[in-house]
């Protein structure tokens, strides 16, 4: 019998995300939720508020290009050595995004505050940066514990609706292997409705929480709203030791995403049809 936490596909997970929802997405390095992003595009999702943890790349460029994103909070959008995020740049140039430029530790601290459900958290640094000028939601206040004047930034907590995560596997109880990718845990914990998780496989032979070593490497099931299998779900990005980045496809994306027309062709070819697992 299929357990209640396991859904049929990334598309079934995407169906849980209403228009206007806020979603947290991590970096391209490991476990980027590409198939989930494609499923959100297929669903025609609109008006997402995307929080990048603390930066993001391809999945967010894709969602922006497809018109799914209204608001973007990030410390950077980058493909690293694999090209330029043209759809992000085009949206910035058009002014079609509500953009909240941030800095990595501020996004982390705000998610940590979200995880504690405290309304705000102070953070050092930041003062003097122009980021503050454009963040009316960040306040500068005097540290009430200091004897002398000590201005410090207060950040409002971030609680996204969902965290979008791709991971290597879930065990038979729905615990998800994340290794030392603790960002995935932070995102899932801070998310009001938990994580939507795609995995390469469900391993019936594993009980991560039964052993002290593997327990430390798990995202406990309680933080996963639902899980679905999506083989090669990070493609064309890589996943840890399992598969590397598809450089040829990244170059192909970069070429097509350079223009509006090309991007539409990309969507038609690589996103609109449900991708076959073996691809």
């Amino acid at each position: 019998m299929t357990p209640d936490w396991l859904l049929a596909s990334a598309d079934a997970l995407a169906a849980l995300v209403p228009d206007g929802a806020s979603v947290a997405i991590g970096t391209d390095n490991s476990g980027a939720p590409m198939e989930l992003a494609r499923a959100l595009v297929r669903r025609g999702t609109r008006d997402l508020h995307v929080v990048c943890v603390p930066i993001a790349g391809l999945p967010v460029d894709l969602l922006i290009g497809a018109g799914a994103v209204a608001t973007l909070e990030t410390s950077a959008i980058t493909f690293g050595e694999y090209g330029t995020p043209h759809r992000f740049q085009a949206a910035v140039a058009r002014g079609s995004l509500r953009l909240f430029d941030a800095t990595c530790p501020a996004i982390y601290a705000a998610l940590e505050a979200g995880r504690k459900d405290i309304p705000f958290i102070p953070l050092r640094g930041l003062i003097g940066s122009d980021l503050l000028k454009h963040r009316p939601d960040w306040k500068v206040q005097d540290n009430p514990f200091a004897a002398a004047r000590d201005p410090i930034v207060l950040l409002p907590a971030i609680r996204p609706d969902f965290a979008l995560i791709h991971a290597d596997y879930a065990d038979r109880n729905g615990h998800v292997f994340i290794g030392r990718r603790r960002d995935a845990a932070l995102m899932a914990q801070a998310a009001r409705h938990g994580a939507l998780v795609t995995v390469e496989e469900v391993r019936e032979d594993v009980d991560l929480m039964a052993d002290e070593t593997t327990a430390a490497a798990a995202l406990p099931a309680i933080y996963a709203r639902a899980v679905a299998i999506a083989e090669r779900g990070a493609w064309p990005l890589g996943l840890d030791e399992r598969y590397g980045i598809d450089e040829a496809h990244m170059a192909h994306y970069g070429e097509l995403a350079r223009s509006d027309d090309g991007f539409v062709r990309y969507l038609d070819t690589h996103v609109a049809p449900r991708r076959q697992a073996a691809e």
Binding site: A102, C104, E112, L123, G128, R182, L186
Partner: protein, 250 residues
């Protein structure tokens, strides 16, 4: 041994700037600072008694002293556990403000949009030895005033700031940053570079150290270290850089 390359000079210079550090972190897409940190680690290990230098290269699995997610680097910096870090910038100005967001036009619809500020607005305040590193030394980068301040240079604003820049390393030269006077001071020219060349390519005013001299080149033993074990260790994080710059590294 063949002539010292541009990259080798920078790696050697960076390792010298890291002397005495116990812990160094290197951001993403920074192979030269990464190599400099690995060289500094080898030197610390060769001291008597041997000294451990913790090196964390973001994106590397082997050279990574951390296991608590991305926030750990920032917490570590606040805890005083990161002695040195590297920052660059699409623009850097004479007051050591750096811009990683974009140029031209009005924010947010800037003419050129770069990735974003990353952790700069925070680490610049908390890491005691921030090394500004940007290979391109042109008036496009070294500007009088940045179009957007991602991270502000030190100022007299009473803000808690144990950290800040110690200087700026480019393809042409090394500037010290004089914090009380909030100005760069040209300290050394890389081999073959001239003061005139630096002036022509720098958009901000700077001072010239009375004892301006050449940037020291690595000796043969250091070069062997860079080309051999350091290049090999760097491969974990930067395979393509190593293939290109150190094709002979095992």
């Amino acid at each position: 041994m063949s002539a010292v390359s541009r990259q080798e000079l920078l790696i050697h210079t960076i390792a010298g700037l890291l002397a005495g550090c116990r812990s160094v972190a290197v951001g993403a897409s920074s192979p030269i600072p990464g190599a400099g940190a690995l060289l500094a680690r080898r030197r610390a290990a060769a001291e008597t008694p041997a000294r451990r230098l913790h090196v964390t290269i973001l994106g590397s699995r082997r050279h990574n002293a951390m296991n608590s997610g991305g926030v750990e680097l920032f917490d570590m910096a606040a805890e005083g556990r990161v002695d040195a870090f590297f920052l660059g910038g699409g623009q850097i100005d004479g007051a050591a403000n750096i811009n990683l967001v974009g140029a031209g036009g009005e924010y947010p619809r800037m003419k050129v949009r770069w990735p974003g500020s990353f952790g700069s607005a925070y680490l610049y305040h908390l890491v005691p030895r921030v090394i500004l590193f940007r290979e391109e030394h042109t008036r496009r980068v070294m500007v009088e005033k940045v179009d957007f301040i991602s991270a502000a240079g030190p100022r007299d604003d009473g803000v808690y700031r144990p950290g800040g820049p110690i200087g700026l390393l480019t393809d042409l030269c090394w500037f010290d940053f004089d914090r009380p006077r909030r100005r760069f001071v040209l300290r050394s020219l890389h081999p073959g570079r001239t003061l005139e060349e630096v002036r022509d390519n720098t958009g901000f005013a700077f001072e010239v150290a009375p004892d301006l001299g050449p940037t020291r080149e690595p000796d043969a033993a250091t070069l062997a270290s860079i080309r051999g074990p350091v290049a090999a260790e760097l491969r974990d994080a930067y395979p393509r850089f190593v293939d290109r710059v150190f094709p002979a590294a095992a």
